[in-house]
């Protein structure tokens, strides 16, 4: 049975609910995870069903509740921890990157670290420099985190269930403009989502639209902006393929390279900062596997290494928009083919 669902927030909450119903090792920790469902809805409804023993509002102490998640995981629990905005990672990152991400390796495989971290990312609604970042590149850079960026409700549910069954630390980055919550703009699509449990495998990118002239690679919200850009490009007779990475770690290089070889032109679109991030990493893999098939150098569009500004025209300038994506795609096509 399926039903129509709007956004990823309810899908993530339903995934946690369905796993919690069958497993006693899952507890949910974080700020405002009860009444407010972790603010962005990822834990909504759980507290009413499972009570405060399993869904626990913590003090505003990121380093301590992430440290507790580490300690609880080391004795067999599976904590689901909310980092309300990814921007708050600085308040608790030591416990994440030095401990949760490393203890399995450092212990020679003795201590599993089954911790699922939920966090809200992204801008576009006027929350400025400390509440609009994406930052998944920081997590993807450190060995030990799996990095999950759902773009659709179907994926959000299936990827979350995969995370809850994974014995490793998994960070789920849910874009605020894809949550489907009434107090935020919604840029996703309403879609059919099965009621029963299912998983979406990590490390498998999805081709969201097939095309032949260029490949656009993105994650999260930018997948939807690329799809809208592809619609516009189609009106000009340009056929764009759109690939949704789904997970940055593990990264499905095979699908990326195959698409690049097919179209010969690649545009990478990212809402994270431009330098030393996802766009650079993806373009490395694309050139390594498809250089001989590339007709032009790879292009990228990302936040141009400035903090996210507040005022609307400023914010619109730095976060890749449909118009910017269309312009970049056209620039890519206009570039002369390599001799």
């Amino acid at each position: 049975m399926t039903r129509t669902m709007k956004g990823i927030a309810f899908a993530i909450a339903e995934a946690i609910d369905q796993e919690m119903a069958e497993r006693s090792d899952i507890v949910v920790l974080g700020e405002d995870v009860t009444y407010w469902g972790a603010v962005f809805g990822f834990t909504m409804g759980l507290h009413q069903k499972y009570g405060r023993d399993r869904v626990i509002d913590t003090p505003i102490t990121e380093q301590t509740f992430f440290g507790m998640a580490c300690g609880a995981a080391s004795v067999g629990m599976h904590p689901v921890v909310s980092l309300m905005f990814v921007d708050f990672l600085g308040a608790g990152f030591d416990q994440m990157y030095n401990h949760i991400a490393k203890n399995h390796y450092m212990s020679g495989g003795q201590f599993a670290m089954p911790v699922t971290i939920l966090t809200a990312i992204g801008g576009g609604y006027g929350d400025a420099a400390q509440h609009s970042q994406v930052l998944y590149g920081l997590f993807a850079h450190v060995p030990g985190f799996k990095v999950v960026v759902p773009a659709t409700a179907y994926d959000a549910k299936g990827l979350t269930i995969s995370a809850l069954r994974d014995p490793n630390p998994v960070v789920i980055f849910g874009h605020k403009l894809l949550t489907g919550l009434p107090f935020l703009p919604f840029e996703g699509q309403e879609e059919e989502v099965p009621e029963e449990r299912y998983t979406v495998e990590f490390g498998k990118a999805a081709i969201r639209r097939e095309g032949s002239d260029l490949t656009m690679i993105a994650a999260g919200l930018m997948v939807h902006r690329c799809l809208r850009a592809a619609d516009e490009l189609a009106r000009d007779g340009i056929s764009a393929e759109v690939i949704d990475l789904r997970t940055l770690v593990p990264l499905d290089t095979e699908t990326l390279v195959a698409s690049a070889r097919k179209t010969g032109r690649v545009l990478i679109v990212d809402e994270d900062y431009r330098s030393y991030g996802m766009t650079g990493e993806v373009s490395f893999h694309v050139q390594a596997g498809a250089l001989d098939a590339l007709k032009t150098p790879i292009r990228r569009l990302a936040v141009p290494d400035v903090p996210i500004p507040f005022s609307e025209p400023l914010e619109r300038t730095v976060i890749p928009s449909v118009e910017q994506i269309v312009a970049e795609a056209k620039a890519l096509l206009a570039a002369g083919a390599r001799a």
């Binding site: 102490t61 301590t64 440290g67 300690g71 390796y105």
Partner: protein, 345 residues
């Protein structure tokens, strides 16, 4: 917090009141000798290849080395009350805690030597020791142990298990925000947690009076209504008694406790430390309070041991250490390719 030596009558009263038997104190004596011998033997091997020019990367033991000679009573006084299923989260100075928790000396030594037979197959090293069987872990990051032990305590309470978690940390770590945060959480959720602060007077090279607004840590716990003990960390009996109460309280469901054990490290913060920040005379003064002879003298006064018995226990401990070190030295190094696996399970 040095406490004066009790009269024989008072000593008898104290041990009887505490329920201390000859067997317990002789075991404690042997354990402390084991740790002392372990640390001194590691120091001895550590300097192989590092003299006359001190090069941290040279010799059979690489990297930094933080030894706990002088702090044995704290680890043993706490560890004797713990079971395998209780959790201990330790620090960058972890060997004494590990041995007191029952971590096998041979695998511990092998890890310090970077051998494949080590606790972590050579991937952790001296500051990152893990033993799942004995629920022992540690972190090289100061202040990290408090919330991790609280997390294990949370799991025990959540599952209704009769286990306790202990966080060890130094007085320098007590300045970290994680202590205040963890105390708050531990009271809020009534966690079976015991926080043990080893106040050895120096955070690296920084004397505590340069870094602490208050001379003592227990006041921080009292601010959260957490039962707190200020103990003589150079006195096994004093630590043992406080730890017994704290751990029994946690096990019985009465929540967290806090122990501040004032102690002293006889060696530098790390091996190679020139110790400009303290005098030889100061170290010698603390040598007068050495916890091992101090307990030995008391055992003799109580008539529970003679010199021959103490000598036998010391020798047994030294032989166990010699076997552990030999095991480590003779073990193979890991296959280099092992470095590339094990990030994920």
């Amino acid at each position: 917090m040095w406490k004066p030596e009790p009269s024989l009558a008072d000593l008898r009263y104290t041990v009887e009141k505490a329920g201390l038997t000859p067997e317990t104190l002789l075991t404690a004596y042997r354990q402390m000798c084991l740790i002392r011998s372990f640390e001194e033997t590691i120091a001895d091997r550590y300097y192989i290849g590092k003299t006359p020019q001190f090069n941290m990367a040279a010799g059979p033991i690489r990297g930094e080395m933080h030894l706990a000679v002088g702090q044995e009573a704290v680890a043993v006084g706490v560890g004797m009350h713990l079971r395998d299923a209780d959790a201990v989260v330790s620090t960058h100075r972890p060997h004494h805690h590990a041995l007191a928790k029952g971590v096998p000396a041979d695998k511990l030594a092998a890890e310090i030597f970077g051998k494949v037979t080590g606790l972590c197959r050579g991937k952790g090293g001296h500051m990152h020791l893990f033993d799942a069987e004995h629920r022992f872990s540690c972190s090289g990051i100061v202040g990290a142990s408090f919330p991790q032990a609280a997390g294990a305590a949370f799991a025990f309470r959540h599952r209704g298990e009769p286990y306790v978690a202990v966080a060890f940390a130094g007085e320098g770590a007590a300045n970290h925000g994680t202590l205040a945060e963890t105390l708050n959480a531990a009271v809020l959720w009534n966690l079976p947690l015991v926080i043990v602060i080893e106040d050895n007077m120096y955070a690296d090279s920084t004397p505590k009076w340069q870094a602490l607004a208050q001379p003592h840590q227990f006041q921080r716990a009292l601010g959260f209504n957490v039962p707190a003990y200020l103990v003589d960390g150079m006195d096994l009996i004093d630590v043992w008694r406080a730890a017994k109460e704290a751990i029994e309280r946690a096990r019985a469901g009465y929540g967290p406790s806090f122990i501040e054990a004032v102690c002293y490290r006889y060696r530098g913060h790390f091996e190679g430390d020139a110790e400009e920040y303290r005098t030889r005379e100061e170290v010698e003064r603390w040598r007068q309070l050495d916890p091992i002879p101090r307990l030995g003298e008391r055992l003799k006064r109580l008539g529970w041991a003679d010199d021959a018995t103490l000598e036998r226990l010391r020798r047994e401990a030294e032989e166990e250490v010699a076997r552990a070190i030999a095991f480590a030295e003779q073990s193979p190094l890991p296959d280099p390719q092992e470095a590339l696996v094990g990030v994920f399970r």
